[in-house]
């Protein structure tokens, strides 16, 4: 995504000289700006507007209003508070697990494997990521269901009586999340690990630090921007998810995304669904604010 500063400066100079008018800008950047304004920004504004509307208690029809009742319901109702906290808990837990899995792998690819082989290894991370989310989640049903792949493989081991009942449970949801979003964690950490200055690690060893101490005091701080970026992206994706808990979880694992979707189906309460959506957006914005506060993104992608 980065451009060399030289090119950028050249562009600036030439553009300033040749095309001082607004028209070429409108003709190029204007069109996509219009599209995103019409079909992302204004719809989101409408969500915010609807979130303070009320519903007629008898007909269930939405009415223009200015009420904070929908937000109050999220905070005061034990059910929705529980869903919110559960969503937070699952998202944080999965982020932690994904970090523990992704870090050693991303470090291995970025810092230990020779450069010319890194490309292939990255391919193998990116390709499953661009492969149908639904189908990959469906694959986990096949693995985890009773009589499925995992149970039948375990039963091949003599002495193991695998009565496996994991599908539609919290562990299934966690496995599903860690799997579908893992590349979001791996790629930024890889980018940090690739730019690691190995001389600093050598220096730490030469000064007598143990491998563990070297990792904690040198390697980890140097790769921290990647860790923070990966964790944020992973957390946002998990927090807003809908498919994974819907297909792999039980009723005790439903998350905010599922409750939001319900407001347009069974529950049918648009203003309440809108208020939940606003809360979800706020969580995303908050996570990003923390990301920009604590990580220098240029150092990862620069």
């Amino acid at each position: 995504m980065a451009s060399s500063p030289a090119t950028a400066q050249m562009t600036t100079a030439r553009a300033g000289r040749q095309l001082p008018t607004l028209l070429p800008v409108l003709a190029t950047v204007g069109l996509p700006t219009l599209l995103l304004t019409l079909f992302l920004l204004l719809p989101l504004v409408l969500v915010a507007v609807y979130s303070v509307y009320s519903t007629d208690p008898i007909t269930g029809i939405m009415q223009p209003d200015f009420t904070l009742a929908n937000y109050e319901r999220i905070v005061s109702s034990p059910i929705y508070r529980k869903v919110f906290l559960r969503t937070l808990e699952i998202a944080l837990l999965c982020t932690g697990i994904a970090l523990l899995i992704a870090y050693p792998m991303a470090y291995t690819i970025g810092a230990l494997v020779p450069r010319e082989r890194q490309t292939l290894l990255l391919f193998l991370v990116i390709i499953p990521f661009w492969t149908s989310y639904i189908v990959r989640t469906y694959g986990w049903i096949g693995i985890l269901q009773s009589g499925g792949f995992l149970e039948s493989v375990l039963s091949l081991i003599p002495g193991v009586d695998a009565g496996l009942d994991v599908l539609y449970s919290r562990p299934a949801v966690i496995v599903g999340f860690v799997h579908v979003f893992l590349p979001l964690m791996i790629l930024p950490i890889y980018a940090s690990a690739r730019n690691l200055d190995h001389r600093l690690i050598e220096a730490s060893y030469d000064l007598g630090a143990s491998p563990w101490r070297t990792f904690l005091r040198v390697t980890l701080p140097l790769t921290m921007p990647g860790v923070v970026a990966g964790a944020t992206l992973f957390f946002i994706a998990t927090f807003g998810a809908f498919v994974t808990p819907q297909l792999l979880g039980g009723t005790e694992d439903l998350m905010m995304g599922n409750v939001i979707a319900d407001q347009f189906g069974e529950a049918f309460n648009w203003p309440f669904g809108a208020a939940l959506s606003v809360v979800m957006i706020l969580i995303v914005v908050l996570s990003l604010a923390l990301l920009f506060r604590f990580a220098d993104l240029e150092s990862i992608y620069g």
């Binding site: 060399s4 990521f129 694959g139 939001i260």
Partner: protein, 279 residues
């Protein structure tokens, strides 16, 4: 770059070598984890019992034959292909326009606009989907093929843009200047010089948009409105309501399509990087 362990003393190198093998082993395990659901689906699609158990009971193409007789699935596949082709064309056209503007001109709020272009990545699918239904109802747009297409283009745009934009920054600008010096007008320069040079990126971006659209589920789930069924919607409803072995075959076909395209995108990106480095 020199190997980091080159200057180490022997005992230390030995210890770190062990750690290294542990890391390689762990990495291999994560790759198995990443590909396991994909492999399980493909194996099951050839299993006569239609189950995902291991080892499979034999080898059959019966589920693929069933797939070819399944009208709903074929219809959904056709819908998905039509939407994905249109989405790829529209998204890449918009991305070319945006990348041209961003790489050539300076204007006020450029950074804001550029950040705005990446916004669709950050909005959770459920929220974006609901926002779009509200909006389509509000402006009186009937849900169907058009609304699905709009949702897919908005969603795919930032990913395609990031690939196309790198292409626009990545070539020798003097080639354009030469064209203009030789008397070509800007329009002709764009078609004859700029576009051919950024083509690998544009094709990569278009293929990525195709893949995203072909696999897109959450937004489609909200904006499809019941009348139009894409392949992911069909797969989802069968997973939830009637788990039949045909789904394994369908899933395997979807995997083949999206993995091939994803590979092609990566190869095009790589090709462009190599070319940029050579230049």
């Amino acid at each position: 770059m020199a190997s980091p362990s080159a200057s180490l003393t022997a005992p230390r190198a030995g210890r770190r070598l062990d750690a290294r093998w542990l890391l390689y082993l762990l990495t291999a395990a994560v790759y198995i984890f990443l590909f396991s659901p994909i492999l399980v689906v493909v194996i099951a699609s050839f299993n006569p019992t239609g189950l995902t158990s291991f080892p499979p009971a034999g080898f059959t193409l019966a589920w693929y034959a069933d797939l070819l007789r399944d009208g709903d699935i074929l219809r959904a596949l056709r819908t998905s292909l039509v939407v994905a082709v249109l989405a790829a064309l529209l998204t890449s056209a918009l991305a070319i326009a945006a990348a041209y503007g961003l790489s050539r001109f300076t204007f006020r709020f450029k950074r804001v606009i550029q950040a705005f272009f990446y916004l669709p990545i950050l909005v959770p699918g459920v929220v974006a989907g609901i926002a779009l239904i509200f909006w389509f109802k509000r402006i009186g747009l009937q849900t169907g093929l058009l609304t699905i297409l709009i949702a897919h283009v908005v969603h795919a745009f930032p990913y395609t843009l990031s690939i196309v934009l790198t292409s626009f920054y990545g070539f020798d600008r003097r080639l354009e200047e030469a064209s203009q010096d030789l008397g070509a007008n800007p329009w002709r320069t764009f078609w004859r010089v700029t576009l051919p040079l950024v083509m690998p990126g544009v094709i990569g971006g278009a293929l990525l948009a195709f893949t995203i659209s072909f696999d897109e589920f959450v937004l489609t789930f909200f904006v499809a409105g019941g009348g139009v069924v894409t392949l992911p919607l069909e797969i989802y409803s069968r997973i939830r309501f009637l788990l039949s072995p045909v789904i394994n075959a369908v899933a395997a076909v979807v995997l083949l399509v999206s993995m091939t395209l994803a590979l092609a995108v990566q190869l095009l990106v790589l090709m462009r990087e190599r070319r940029a480095r050579a230049a």
